[in-house]
Subunit: 93 residues, 2 copies
C-alpha cells in the first residue's frame, strides 16, 4: 500500500498570547541579534501513514489534526502531504 509523509504545523491562533515566544524574542536581543519581532512557537508533527490513495491519507491526517494534534479552540494547523517514493532497495538483488 502506498505510504505518505505528512507534516502538520500547529500554531497558536493570532489572538492567543505566547509567553514562551515572547521570552525567546527577548533572549534573541541578549544574544546580540536585533530586529526580531513576532516570534511565535508552534508544533511541527511529522508522521508516515499508509493509505490506498492520497485523498484517503489526507482525510485521515486531517481528522488526526482536528481531534488529536491541535486544540482548535486556540490553535490553527496546516498540512503538507507527499507520497513516499517506493524504491527497489528492499528487493533481493
Amino acid at each position: 500500500m502506498p505510504r505518505f509523509h505528512a507534516r502538520v504545523l500547529v500554531s497558536l491562533r493570532p489572538s492567543v498570547l505566547d509567553p514562551a515566544g515572547e521570552a525567546t524574542r527577548a533572549a534573541s536581543s541578549r544574544l546580540g541579534v536585533e530586529g526580531v519581532s513576532r516570534l511565535r512557537i508552534g508544533k511541527a508533527v511529522e508522521l508516515e501513514i499508509e493509505a490506498p490513495d492520497a485523498d484517503t491519507a489526507r482525510s485521515r491526517v486531517e481528522l488526526l489534526s482536528d481531534r488529536l494534534l491541535a486544540n482548535p479552540v486556540i490553535e490553527n494547523w496546516e498540512l503538507e502531504l507527499s507520497e513516499i517514493a517506493t524504491t527497489n532497495a528492499s528487493l533481493p538483488a
Copy 2:
C-alpha cells in the same frame, strides 16, 4: 529596511526517543486511524526579522537556531526564509 519571514523547524535527532510522539501515535489508533508510523513531534518557530539583505537575515537566524531555538545535542533544525513583500497599504491614500 527589508523584513524577512523565517520558519525554523526543530526536530529531535533520529537517535533520540520521543515518548510524546509515541503516545500520540498510539492515540491515533484509538481514534480509529490505522497505518500511522514514525510520528515525531518537533517545534515550528515563526519569526520576522529586519536585516539589510537576505544573507544577513539568514546568518542571524542561523545563529539564533544554533544557540537559542534548538539544542544541537539532541535536535536538528532547518530554516526557510522569505522576504516579506512591502506594500503601500500603510501609506496615506
